[in-house]
């Protein structure tokens, strides 16, 4: 009987002890990133020899004042009345501001890119050099997600389509459409590798 009671007490103690050791197991990242890895035609990882910058169009716009006469075009950030007086025709040009997600990274073999909370298509500009770039379009559904009371909320996504230009990119493939804050490979970008 004493042995039995001792056993029960030990088991209860273990239960309470284990309960006391419960940890806050929130994910390290509270943001979800679309992970894109770079591979060659055989699926082997490759590192880009050029530097890589990734830019996106933001929802803010830059305004430019374009003055045009027969042979001359002047683009300015501020209006200049004297040009109109000289016979230039004024038009307003708006262009989306660009945000830099990755700035001239060398030897990149993958990128982790944020997706928009509200848009259903994001456009990423992969800039390899001043004259060489690819554009990647990611179509996605957005799911605001409740993780827990302690861990808060995070945006989850489901990739429903992906396309790109083919300057350096050969093809692009979704390998896992669910984008969450548990980082895993979502997209493979196949590059044309010159030997």
């Amino acid at each position: 009987m004493k042995k039995l009671l001792r056993g029960v007490l030990v088991a209860v103690g273990l239960c309470i002890g284990m309960a006391g050791c419960e940890s806050n197991d929130c994910m390290l990242s509270s943001e979800s990133y679309c992970s894109m890895s770079f591979v060659d035609g055989k699926g082997n990882a490759v590192k880009l020899l050029d530097t890589l910058s990734v830019l996106v169009n933001l929802y803010e716009y830059d305004e430019y004042y374009v003055y045009h006469c027969d042979t001359d075009t002047v683009v300015l950030q501020e209006p200049v009345d004297s040009l109109v007086e000289k016979g230039y025709e004024l038009s307003l040009l708006t262009q989306p501001k660009q945000g830099v997600l990755l700035n001239r990274k060398t030897g990149a073999d993958r990128v982790e890119l944020p997706l928009s909370f509200t848009a259903e298509r994001d456009t990423f500009f992969f800039q390899y050099s001043a004259r060489l770039a690819d554009t990647v379009w990611v179509d996605h559904l957005n799911h605001p997600y409740f993780s827990s009371m302690d861990c808060g909320t995070v945006m989850h996504y489901k990739i429903v389509g992906i396309t790109s230009t083919h300057h350096l990119i050969d093809s692009i493939q979704v390998v896992s459409s669910e984008v969450t804050n548990t980082l895993k490979e979502n997209v493979k970008i196949y590059y044309t590798v010159s030997h």
């Binding site: 039995l4 029960v8 933001l58 909370f117 848009a119 909320t153 989850h156």
Partner: protein
Amino acid sequence: MLRYIILLVINLLFVSVPLSAQTKKMRQVTEPERSKIAEWLDLTDSIPVFQGVSVMTDLVGPGWYAFGGDFFSSEVALEVNLLNRFFPVLEVGYGRTDATNEDTDLHYKTAAPYFRVGLNYNVQYKKKSPGYIFAGGRLGYTSFEYDVDGPPMTDPVWGNEVPFRFSGIKGQALWAELMIGVRAEIYKNFHMGWSFRYKVRLNVKDSPNASPWYIPGFGASDNTAFGATYDIVYRIPWK
């Protein structure tokens, strides 16, 4: 009675039954073997199988809430005593919460019934005492709806905000519990006792927008949780 049921089952298992064109050779259990099995099952000291029925309720759930906890749960259970050794149990309860986290400002609300079925095993079944020490298991299930809302989410890159408010999300949960406990008679036919439970989620239905935080009958946790009950038991007079 139980002896005969078990021996019948053993006979059915071992007797030569023509299975798939007699491919398997089976033989009749001999009388010495039956005696050995009955001895191994401790059925030699026969008592009536049916030893009574008890109803009980838990005080920890309402007590926890009364002292400021976020969760309220209340349950009643029906327990059948077989041989003073096996106690099949059916537990029916109701759990609810309406909680807000001060740090994250998230609000979660749900209320739903839950059910558990299982068995307690009295490790002191040889003793004739009215109390007992037991180990047991439960299988729990609930189907529920929950609301969750919080501050709007702000996109760190593009800067726009998304409201966060979801109502009537449907959830289901199936879980298992391992437990140990004690019970003692405090007055004629009235018992009191503790049980400590280790709970494991077996299957929880998530939605695209949420993973249930508090599950009625299971509690609030991730994949595992601990629980305790303090039971008031009334043993229905049987004979």
